[in-house]
């Protein structure tokens, strides 16, 4: 683990005035949802010119705490102080007026509207209700300039990448002269380069004396950005530490209540014969042609910048999208790969990139979500049995250690990481020969991550070929045997994970590599 | 009052030749109006004009639009069975301004040059007189009403008028259906549950009354008599004992849609040749003739 080598940002930052009065402070906050206590007696504060990180397992209550601070929920008990003055926020608007803004975990944009319209939402420039469209665009340009972006404000925001949309949201918050900005897992859907841009921006904001709350599950980001760090567990306050006075080990054990020694849980796996052969597969939008192999028992990561085409490639293998040319072979047999149903029958499983949009049935129970792809296998003449299903689901449920009262509850009431485990359980039930995972640990806490890695490793050890798309470089390096680097739709490098470094991967991924060790 | 600067009807002119006739009815799925259609189709075949039949779907707005389209079409005669006799007035005026001869059929239409219509109030009177007599002037009865449109309401008015002369008959249930068999059946079934002691039922038209008859059959009720209005073929079937043994259908005042529409067409031709009749002769009222189980064998039908 390289994270510990980073210099804690706070130590060097001139803005950190330990004596400064907190911009915002909460004391004794509790909040229940029905029978579930989401927060119990939590305290937290944020000072000018600091980045205060918040971390903890999925479902620890981080988002809930932030929603209370920003006026989305009312706390059951506890007080909120803004610059020492007790306040109550009846709505997000009131919190905004007090200089507190939030970038939510889920995007809050309106896809059909333009960037400019999204930026001005709720406070459109107008005279007696009539829009001033020129000012709308001008103001949008100014706001975008705050985050150093020059996108055309007239583009429908839905056409932008998640990262760009997030920049728009940040621009909106900055333009409202926020003193405190909360970012709830902002990098979960961002590429390396987009994250870098975001971090630079956060640095500037800190220098300007803003207080930033940064929520993340990524250890290296926490180290890179934070001045202080607070850990929540099961809705309770565990502790606040200055980064200069703590260690990775300590943070992890604060989060999960135990130590995680080997995050990636590598076992000695036996690499078998070639299972997956991708031959000159090309798709729309200048993707490919790409060719590569994955062997049984092998874990291969597909890395690259956002938009490099990794998702496209794996979707074509799975048959979710149509390839314009090329061939895919599994154990020597050509995969027809025209639709996912067929692929599943042929032993291919795909964990899609976006769990809410592409994987989950939010209104349905966890069990129903897990069993959906294998119903046919576990039914007699199309008739299913609840008992039989439970018997099949239970062991997987247990082994994944999903944090929920019962497998019968609706999946939407699970935290993000636990939802991801439910999707992974669906893949496991398929007992695939080829397992494809697109961003398998996006938004997942470190405890769950280590379990997911352990499961992936087990599947590979069972002889399956595993292909992972990951934007989390340390993860890709840590878990895989081999890395395939993509750049602008093509495969540009194949690297041995043992020898590769983050820097080397980035050089290939950005197309700035000039050495001659290219293998692919 | 319509000051249309464009008057397309004028170009066609009133050349004696009839090339285009429009027949507008309120509800074509009712056999009563379908009978009008087939009668007119026959005449169209003989006289060699084009017949344009439009269904008003019980919607005054739709009939307005249909009249406008007929004006465009250069229609010579409109035989109009209006959804609402007064409400259609402004559209009739437009048609007449455009040089079309408009004759109302079955129900009057405000502004029409002439009308051939049944006396619906009289039909209601005949039906309920027959029923009251059959009930022996005493007992409880039901009225299965229909949608609130002129012709239906007039029948109920006629019926209630008659019932004032029968103080020993009480109307214990009065519900509105959709002038069809199914709602007649459903409403009657439920009203029979509410009121055990029933001797007679008046349905505002034959489909409704036949629905009531089915309800009685399905509830195995005897000694209850049903009357309708129209004199439709199904009512005839229901009254012919051997065809429909359990039927409690007693009587229906027959109206003659086929004759009525043919007569209306003759009146229209007359209007074109000799001008509109004066107010006193504007309406040709056709009295319904009562058909009962006793007289059904003499009834010619539509």
């Amino acid at each position: 683990m390289t994270a510990a080598e980073h210099v804690p940002g706070g130590a060097a930052s001139p803005g950190t005035a330990a004596v400064a009065e907190p911009l915002l402070e909460v004391r004794g906050i509790s909040k229940r949802f029905g029978a579930t206590p989401a927060l119990t007696d939590v305290g937290f504060d944020i000072r000018p010119g600091e980045i205060h990180s918040l971390t903890g397992e999925n479902g620890a209550g981080k988002s809930t705490l932030m929603k209370i601070i920003t006026g989305n929920y009312a706390p059951d008990t506890g007080t909120i102080l803004v610059r020492g003055q007790p306040v109550t926020f009846a709505s997000p608007r009131e919190a905004q007026a007090a200089g507190i803004a939030i970038i939510h975990q889920e995007l809050n944009t309106i896809p059909e509207m333009t960037v400019a319209e999204n930026l001005s939402l709720g406070q459109e420039p107008n005279t007696f209700g009539v829009l001033n469209r020129r000012r709308l665009v001008e103001e949008a340009k100014k706001k975008l300039a705050l985050v150093g972006s020059d996108i055309d404000p007239r583009t429908p925001i839905g056409r932008l990448s998640v990262g760009m949309q997030q920049m728009v949201e940040i621009a909106r918050a900055l333009a409202e002269d926020a003193q405190v900005l909360v970012l709830d897992e902002p990098t979960a859907a961002l590429s390396q380069s987009e994250s870098a841009r975001l971090f630079a921006l956060l640095g500037k904001m800190r220098e300007r004396g803003m207080g930033l709350v940064y929520i993340s599950h990524r250890m290296e980001e926490l180290w890179r950005l934070s001045d202080r760090l607070t850990v929540l567990r099961d809705g309770k306050f565990v502790g606040t530490k200055r980064m200069s006075e703590t260690s990775s080990q300590e943070i992890v054990s604060m989060m999960v209540g135990r130590e995680i020694n080997d995050l990636y849980g590598h076992t000695a796996r036996e690499i078998g014969d070639v299972r997956l052969e991708v031959r000159d597969v090309a798709g729309r939008g200048g993707i490919g042609p790409v060719s590569f192999d994955v062997r049984g028992g092998e874990i291969v990561s597909l890395v690259g910048l956002i938009g490099a085409g990794r998702t496209e490639v794996v979707r074509m293998i799975y048959g979710a999208d149509r390839a314009t040319s090329g061939q895919v072979l599994l154990d020597g047999e050509p995969l027809r790969s025209t639709d996912p149903k067929r692929s599943i029958r042929d032993g291919v499983a795909l964990l899609p990139e976006s769990r809410k949009e592409q994987a989950l049935f939010l209104e349905q129970s966890v069990t129903e979500n897990i069993e959906i792809s294998t119903l046919g296998r576990h039914s007699t003449f199309g008739v299913t049995s609840k008992r039989r299903m439970r018997r099949i689901v239970q062991p997987i449920w247990d082994s994944l250690r999903v944090k929920a009262s019962s497998p019968e509850i609706e999946v939407k009431s699970l935290s993000g990481g636990n939802q991801q485990k439910a999707v992974l359980a669906r893949m496991l039930l398929q007992q695939p020969r080829l397992l494809i995972l697109d961003e398998p640990t996006r938004g997942v806490d470190i405890g769950a991550k280590s379990e997911i890695y352990r499961i992936i490793d087990e599947i590979a050890a069972g002889g399956a070929a595993v292909l992972i798309v990951s934007s989390d470089l340390p993860e890709a390096l840590g878990i895989s045997d081999r890395l395939l680097v993509m750049h602008e739709g093509g495969l540009v490098a194949e690297l041995d994970a043992e020898q590769a470094t983050e820097e080397l991967v980035m050089e290939h991924a950005t197309g700035t590599f000039h050495g001659d060790e290219r293998e692919a | 009052s319509d000051s249309s600067p464009v008057d397309p009807g004028e170009e066609e002119g009133d050349s004696g030749e009839i090339t285009n006739v429009g027949l507008m009815v309120q509800d074509i799925s009712n056999p009563f109006f379908a009978s009008m259609q087939s009668a007119m189709e026959e005449i169209a075949g003989e006289d060699g004009f084009t017949l344009n039949v439009q269904d008003g779907q019980q919607d005054l707005g739709a009939q307005n639009n249909q009249i406008d389209a007929m004006i465009q079409q250069g229609t010579d005669i409109i035989l109009l069975n209006a959804v609402d006799s007064e409400g259609i007035g402004s559209a009739v005026e437009r048609a007449i301004d455009a040089g079309i001869t408009v004759v109302a059929v079955d129900v009057d239409a405000a502004g029409a040059q002439a009308a051939v219509s049944t006396d619906n109030v009289e039909a209601g009177r005949q039906a309920c007189t027959a029923l009251a007599d059959k009930m022996g002037g005493e007992g409880n009865m039901l009225i299965v009403d229909g949608t609130p449109i002129t012709s239906v309401q007039e029948r109920v008015i006629g019926c209630e008028e008659v019932l004032e002369d029968y103080p020993d008959i009480e109307v214990v249930g009065h519900q509105n259906g959709n002038n069809d068999r199914a709602t007649g059946l459903d409403l009657t079934t439920q009203m029979l549950t509410a009121n055990d002691d029933i001797q007679g039922i008046f349905g505002i038209n034959d489909p409704t009354a036949l629905g009531a008859t089915l309800a009685l059959g399905q509830a195995s009720r005897e000694d209850v008599w049903v009357v309708g209005v129209d004199g439709s073929p199904e009512a005839v079937t229901a009254m012919e004992d051997d065809e429909f043994p359990n039927s409690s259908f007693w009587a229906t005042p027959a109206q003659h849609p086929n004759e009525m529409v043919a007569q209306a067409f003759e009146v229209a031709k007359d209007v074109r040749d000799n001008g509109a009749p004066d107010e006193a002769d504007r309406i040709t009222l056709v009295d319904p003739s009562l058909v009962t189980r006793d007289t059904v064998s003499d009834y010619a039908g539509w």
Partner: protein
């Protein structure tokens, strides 16, 4: 329950109690509108002496049977986030088909099956347009409502076709012991649809397709096939409704079933199925249909004038959904 068994650990017993509470909530969440129905029945029995009798109960059930059968199919369609406005017209076409087959001299089972198949066929067309051409179901079935009505008229040249000796008359008017046959058929339909939705893979697919079509596709569900089947079943249910209708009125009525789609959708939505798809229960629909049926019945029994019936009916529908929604709000607090 036996106290003789070895005492379970405290933890297990708490878990069991929680499980029971959870199940209760589960059940209540699904059939909560039942409370509204019960309330309505109580009010109705005060309003009319004749209401609470076995024969009136059967009247109500018979009166709702056709709407309820149609609504069962519509429930499945709405679960996939679709809608079917053509069920009323399908009913007419199927009734006409059934009677025509009877008139053509074919035996009763053939006529009945023919009618249901006619309905299914109309559903296949709806489903194909919705699934394969990805058209909005609202417009597809609005179009179908219009052209199928035209077809029903055209089949019979616009006139009702009376069939006093209808071979399958028994379906409409006979009794099984003391229960009217249409009511029995309705209960069978609900049992079957319940089984299909709750106990078969196809049922799971219906919920999945309605909940998240993209996820369903990636999970290996043939979304298009599922949709075509759902509309086909919806059509078949409406077809069965048409057969029962014709058996009840002993005739083919080309104008039968007008605006039935609204009654069916009202039953489905009152029953708690979300128009957005993926969430709802078939039992709720039955209760929704009963609410509408009881309401109509008691208004007739108490001889309320037509205009006021409309006012009361509309108000009670809004009230019912309000009560149901207050319950749900209370729960989430």
């Amino acid at each position: 329950m036996s106290t003789a068994t070895t005492a379970p650990s405290a933890a297990t017993s708490v878990a069991r109690r929680e499980e029971r509470v959870r199940k209760l909530f589960y059940w209540w969440d699904r059939v909560g509108i039942l409370g509204v129905l019960v309330l309505l029945i109580v009010v109705a029995s005060f309003a009319s002496d004749n209401f609470l009798s076995f024969s009136n109960a059967m009247d109500v059930l018979r009166a709702i049977s056709i709407n309820a059968i149609i609504a069962a199919g519509v429930t499945m369609i709405i679960l996939t986030a679709g809608i079917d406005l053509s069920v009323g017209s399908i009913l007419a076409v199927a009734g006409c088909a059934g009677v025509l087959l009877h008139v053509a001299g074919l035996p009763a089972p053939i006529a009945v099956i023919g009618g249901i198949l006619a309905g299914a066929l109309a559903g296949v067309l709806n489903g194909t347009l919705v699934a394969l051409l990805v058209l909005p179901p609202f417009i597809v079935t609005l179009g179908a409502m219009t052209y199928l009505r035209g077809t029903a008229y055209a089949l019979l040249d616009g006139q009702p076709l009376i069939a006093n000796d209808l071979s399958y008359e028994a379906l409409g008017s006979s009794y099984v012991s003391v229960v009217p046959t249409p009511v029995i058929i309705m209960l069978i339909v609900y049992a079957v649809v319940w089984f299909v939705l709750e106990r078969t893979t196809f049922g799971r697919h219906v919920y999945a397709v309605g909940g998240n079509p993209e996820a369903a596709r990636l999970a290996g569900i043939n979304v298009k096939k599922t949709l075509v089947w759902v509309y086909t079943i919806g059509g078949a249910c409406a077809g069965l409704g048409g057969i029962l209708f014709s058996a009840r009125v002993l005739s083919a009525q080309p104008n039968a079933g007008q605006s039935y789609e609204m009654d069916a959708i009202a039953a489905v939505v009152l029953g708690g199925t979300a128009l957005a798809g993926g969430r709802g229960r078939i039992l709720g629909t039955l209760i929704g249909a009963m609410i509408i049926g009881v309401l109509s019945n008691v208004l007739v029994l108490t001889n309320v004038p037509y205009f006021y019936q409309l006012i009361i009916k509309g108000a009670v529908i809004v009230l019912a959904i309000t009560l149901d929604s207050l319950r749900r709000l209370g729960q989430s607090r």
